[in-house]
Each structure stands twice: as C-alpha cells, then as structure tokens.
Amino acid sequence: MKDAVTSLSSAMGSASRRRYAPRTWMLILLTALVAVSVVSLLIGAGEVGPRRVLGLLQGASDSEAQFIVWELRAPRTLIGIVVGIALGVAGALLQAISRNPLAEPGLLGVSAGAAFAVALALVLGASAATLRISVAQLGALIGCVCVLSVARFRGVGNDPVRLVLAGAAFSGLLGSLTSLMLLYDQRAADEIRFWVVGSLAGRRLDDLVAVLPSLLVAAIAVVIMARPLAALALGERAASGLGHHPTLIRWVAVGCVALLVGAATAIAGPIAFVGLVVPFVARAFAGPDIRRTLWFCLPIGPLIVLMADIISRVAVAPSELPLGVLTALCGAPVLIAVVRAKRLPML
C-alpha cells in the first residue's frame, strides 16, 4: 500500500512541488481561482470585452455590458465553481472507496445514466429547455448505483482496469438504449444531440437553486465522512478496529457521489473526466491523506472547469464549444498518464 502511494507521487513528479507546505499551495490555488473567476467575468463570446466590463465598474452606463456580465457571465461562473467542486469531490470520494485511481463518475456510467434519463423524459414529451432538473439527477443516481453495485466495490475494484471496463460496457449499453428510444422521435434526437455534450451556456441560477439542497446534504455527509474515510484507507480491519463500519462508510460515500454528480450533470450535462483529473492533481499537492485531498479538490475543481469554460467561449466565437468536449480532450491524456505510471497505483 505504502509503496504504491509513493510510486504515485513519484509518477507525478511531486518531489519538486513539496518545497512549499500544503498551506502555501492552498493559498496560491485560491488566489488563482479568484483570478480565473474574474477573467471569466471579463471574457466571453460576445462583443463585450474586458474594456467595457472595466468601464462598467468605473460607473459607465452600459446596459448591454451590465446585462451580459451580471445576468449571463456571473451565474455561469458561479455554476462553473459549483460544478467543479461537485465533480472533483465526487471523483475523490469514488477513488477513495474503490481504491482505484481510474474510478471516475463519467467513466463508470453516471453520465450515461443521466443522458438516458433525459432522453427518456424527452421521448415522453418533456422539452429539454423546460426539463425538470430532477430527471437527470435521478438518472445519474441510478447509473452510479448500478455500476457500483455491479462492481461491488472490491470485487471488480480489485483490479482498476476491470472496474473501468465494467463502466465502459455499462455506458455503451445505456448509450445504445438511448439511441433506440430516439429512433422514432427525431425531435428528441435533435434536442438530445445538444444535451449530450455538456455545457455551462444558458444555465440559470434557478437550476442551481434546484439542486442546492442535495448539494448541501452531500457536503455535510462528506464532512462527517472524512475521518472514517481516512481510517478506511488504512484497511478494512484497521477501520473496524477504530470503531467505523466499512460497509456503511462505502454506501454513504456512494450516496454522496450520486448526489454530487447527479446535481452537476443535471445542471451542465455530462462533463467527462473532471472527476478523474481533479483528484489526480489534488493528490499531487496533498499527498495520500484523503482529508487533505478533499480540501484541495475545492479550489482545483472550479479552476479546471472555469478554465475549460473560458476556452470554450473564446475558441469559436461568436458560437461556443461544448464544455464536455473540451474536458474529454484534456482529460483523456491524464487517464493515459495514470495507466502509464510504472505501477498502476492502488489507493
């Protein structure tokens, strides 16, 4: 166990990063997050650039700039931060309980479950724009529980590759069922092809408010769970010896993952690989302690999502790139880097 962790650290070349204390790194990351959030308010696909936004702050009356900054970019930034935190923390939890650095909500079929549920709702007559946010959340939850119960945590999870395979197979299955439903309903097919690529565009604060309760529940649960999770990392026996219930811990963690990913997917659609990349980077800063890793996921998740979102806005202005595509393009190399590590790290 211990040398696996060491090999993970060395694989990421974190020796050089350890010159600063984690606390210092945290400060740097938070500053970066604030900076990126400001940039996210300044830049967009439209004609309102940094100059007009700064003019606005100096008191110029510019109703268009005001609208775009406060009604479009500010909610979007806020949603990006929440989605980043939710996906990052969910990834860290999932990796901790499955002891598998490849466990990622998207890879394990959670996004496919959400897409399936949305397609089902569309076929049954809902319209994507008016879709009740709960549908996607429910789908994500079912997808998550399915894959994890299939994987039974340790059964398949013993071998990181097998868990990912099970997830990929499951995603493929749900994808096919989604296409089957859309076969005779081209209206739904036409709407879903825009939904399956995740995006932060056009999301409203109402959507965020709708998922806030579930996010709060998950947040409280994660705070309570942090210590038992850390104990679990020492092994099942050690955790039991310290008075924790390993099975209970895992189920609660799965519930949290489903709530977090469900909420993020319901707002933004499937956003691939964030749950893989964020804990990967966070561990490089935090080391093996799950509690510290979870803390570091808080600034890193939003940072990654916001940076990807900013790129998605400016790359093909006046249109936008879907965020899910960008994160898939950036995340796949990380996935490959993880498997290329000399030994597949077992957490």
């Binding site: 994507a128 008016t130 825009f194 565009a201 879907p322």
Partner: protein, 313 residues
C-alpha cells in the same frame, strides 16, 4: 466481349421484365428526362409513383397525383402535417424514412416511376432504377428558388408540366398579392428565422424556401452574417450574442408540432426576454417540419398562410 454483351442482354431483359411487370406502360412512347444520373426514359402515363423525398411528394400532390408510396417527413413517423389536407383520403404507403429507404418496400409497391431527392447516392440509384425509372434532380447549391426547378422536373416526369407550372404561378401570384397587402399595412420590417435550442438559438439561412418567401413578400430577412455559405443554419449562437437576432419579427421554428412550447422554453431565458422583439410580442412560433424541412409548391402555400396569419392578423 461475348460475355459482356450476354450480360448486358440479361440486364436488359431484367429491366424490361420489371417494367412490364410494373405496369402495362408502352415503352415506345417514352419521354427522356435530364437527371442527375444522365438521361432517363419515363413512360407517358405513369400511374404507380413512389416519392422518396418530401419535395417530390409535394410536387406530385400539387400536380394532382397521389403517390402509392412515400417516405416519412423528417422528425415524424408519417407524411408532413400540411400534406394531409391534400391527400383526398388516399394515403401513400410508408416506404422508409428519409435517412434509410427500404428498397424492398419500394419494390412491393411495384412503381412505374420513382421520384427521389438530389442527395440520392449512386448505389441506391442503381438499385432503384432497376425497379422503375428513377428521377433524381441535379444537386444545386443551396438557394431559395431550387424548389421550382425540382418541381418542374418532377412535373415533367409525371407528364403534368402544365399543372406544376400552374401551381408555381399560383404561388408567385400569391406572393405578389401578399407583398402588396403587407406593404399597405406597413407590416414588414426586419425578421430572423431561428430555431431555439436549449443552449441558444440557431439562425437559419436566407436561402431556405421559408426565408426566401419572407424576403419576396417584403420582409427584410437577416442572418446576422452568421450562416456559412451553403449551410442551412448557423452554429448555436452564444447567448451573449443574442442581440443579433433582434429585429421587428422573430420566427421561431421547432420540430415540435407545438411551436408555443418552444416559445415558452425560450422565454425562460432572461437573455431572450430582454430582446425588443420579445418585449413587443412580435415572436411567431412556426412549425419546423414545414418551415425548415418541407419543399415544393404546396409547402410554399402553407408557409405563405403562416406569414399572412402572423403579419396581417
């Protein structure tokens, strides 16, 4: 040499046999049409017609012929709604969807004439033309007037050129009447045709039949310079650029039969409700089946109906 001529002879027998089997048309009086796949001979009085394209179905109905087989409209499981009124109780058998033609079902109808879309692939053409003479219009770059040339070709194939010319003339006359009425009522102005997607709007090209008709009746159609040449619509526009679809009129198309639902969906976005055109309630929900997918003289009439109802209530 001997082999190939033998083979050609056999193919000829097969084709001839199918023709005779299909109907008792007299091959002697065949006429020759210029199609995308070269000259095609069609009989004088085709009776069993299969249309594999919405524009062809439209033209055939306009010429007074109800096909025995047709493909579904895009986004539906039957022919387009506006077509229903022209069927007179006879209903074409469905022989597939636009994206996948069921050639067996075509053969089962034993047609003596097949009218297909310009996009028909060579391989499909080879098979279909052995069932019956298959008329494929020349592919043209996207332009508003394409439907007229296509309808005329289908009219020739049906040997009902006069009826098609009449139908086109009726459309042209209707256009000039409507243009005059709109001018009198001073109801014109600028307009954008858009489809509302959850992430934002797509601006439709100025070269579609619907936008072309809008322009003809005196409405200044805009696409904000966003639609690439030859493309039927733009990429999804960022909400930050939504002001570019503002104007006097906004026609909001959806594949949903219920255009009002699309409008309600759009109104949930503050970027949309902020537009002048929305504040003045000048947004017209229209049926996307008709406005972004249909083609032909009957479709043109139906679109003109929509325009008249919207601009001259």
């Amino acid at each position: 040499m001997g082999y190939s001529s033998l083979r050609n002879g056999l193919v000829g027998i097969v084709v001839g046999g199918l023709l005779v089997g299909g109907s008792l048309a007299s091959v002697a009086q065949a006429r020759t049409l210029d199609t995308a796949y070269g000259d095609v001979e069609v009989s004088d009085a085709p009776e069993h017609i299969v249309t594999l394209y919405e524009g062809a179905l439209d033209a055939a109905l306009a010429a007074g012929v109800t096909p025995v087989g047709a493909v579904t409209t895009r986004g539906g499981d039957n022919v387009a709604e506006y077509v229903e009124a022209h069927l007179n109780g006879e209903r074409p058998e469905i022989v597939g969807v636009t994206r996948e033609i069921n050639i067996e079902a075509v053969l089962a109808q034993q047609p003596d004439l097949i009218l297909a879309a310009a996009q028909l692939s060579e391989e499909q053409y080879q098979l279909l033309s052995r069932i019956a003479p298959t008329v494929v219009p020349h592919a043209q770059p996207l332009a508003f007037d394409n439907w007229k040339a296509e309808a005329r070709l289908y009219g020739q194939a049906l040997n009902r050129e006069a009826e098609i010319d009449d139908a086109i003339a009726t459309v042209d006359q209707r256009i000039s009447e409507l243009a005059a009425a709109i001018d009198d009522a001073n109801a014109g102005g600028t307009a954008v045709l858009a489809r509302w997607m959850p992430n934002g709007p797509m601006v439709m090209s100025k070269e579609l039949i619907a936008t072309g008709l809008l322009a003809k009746v005196g409405v200044e159609v805009r696409d904000a310079g966003l639609v690439a040449e030859g493309h039927p619509h733009s990429d999804i526009l960022s909400l930050e650029n939504l002001s570019q679809v503002d104007g006097d009129w906004l026609f909001l198309a959806t594949l949903n039969a219920d255009g009002q639902a699309a409008l309600d969906a759009a109104k949930q976005s503050s970027a949309f409700t902020r537009l002048d055109v929305v504040k003045q309630d000048q947004v017209v929900p229209v049926n996307g089946q008709l406005w972004s997918s249909a083609n032909g003289p009957l479709a043109a009439q139906a679109i003109l109906d929509d325009i008249e109802n919207a601009l001259l209530p």
